[in-house]
């Protein structure tokens, strides 16, 4: 039952990813903590699950002609060093602090999605 829910949440995360240009990690992480992983293991594993999700998203969006490759490369490459630093910080933070910070990120993301929908309403 838990795994069925994980699969369903996986699909929902993918929908989010394709629709909003996020990796899906915002739902992967809570789902993985729900199936029993620690916050840190969930975050690490989420990043791996993001890879197939965004590959499919990139393929679809590319076919619609929406991807701008040069800026994407610039953003992606600039992010590498910072990503290594972010992971180091995550490893060194207490589990409960990391979870609370993540919860705040979730709330900000929720507000942002609502704001985007509000802005683009017909």
């Amino acid at each position: 039952m838990t795994y069925l829910l994980a699969v369903v949440l996986g699909i929902v995360a993918g929908l989010l990813a394709g629709m909003f240009g996020v990796g899906g990690g915002i739902l992967f992480v809570p789902t993985l903590t729900y199936v029993g992983l620690s916050q840190l293991h969930a975050e690490a594993t989420s990043l791996l699950a993001i890879i197939p999700t965004v590959l499919v998203g990139i393929w679809r969006h590319h076919s619609y002609g929406n991807v701008r490759w040069k800026p994407a490369l610039a953003i992606g490459i600039a992010s590498i060093g910072a990503a290594v630093g972010g992971a180091q910080v995550a490893v060194s933070l207490p589990e409960s602090t990391l979870r609370r910070l993540f919860a705040v990120l979730l709330l900000l993301t929720a507000a942002q999605i609502a704001w985007r929908a509000w802005r683009s309403r017909p």
Binding site: A6, V7, L9, G10, I11, G14, L15, A17, G18, M19, F20, G21, V22, G23, G24, G25, I26, V29, P30, L32, V35, L37, L40, E43, A44, T45, S46, L47, L48, A49, T53, V54, L55, G57, I58, H61, Y64, N66, V67, P71, A72, A74, I75, G76, S79, A82, A83, V84, G86, V89, A90, R99, R100, L101, L105, L106, T109, A110, R116, S120
Partner: protein, 114 residues
Amino acid sequence: MAYILIGLVAGFFSALFGVGGGVVIVPLLLLAVKWDIRVATATSLAAILITAVAGVVTYVVHGQVRPTYALLLGVPAAIGSYYGSSLQQRVNTNTLSFLFAALLAAIGIEMLVR
């Protein structure tokens, strides 16, 4: 220059929270360089691929990645991503957006009070 700054912020948040970084990239592209929403989401996904690979490699070194669980979520999510991308092109997704926002807010509150 703007792209590099966006990348630095996104990379840090991405690895710290195990998310792709799109949560940071998309609003910055919308606000800072005033891109169209579809171009911003598509480009964000391409940037995330690089960020996520960098984050995974770092975490693998620390030994925190669980590949089986990544497959359990990543495969259904790839299917969802296929439909999500198409959906975004064709329909007005406002109602769905508010539902997603409510779902994320609920999980966020649950994690805060847990």
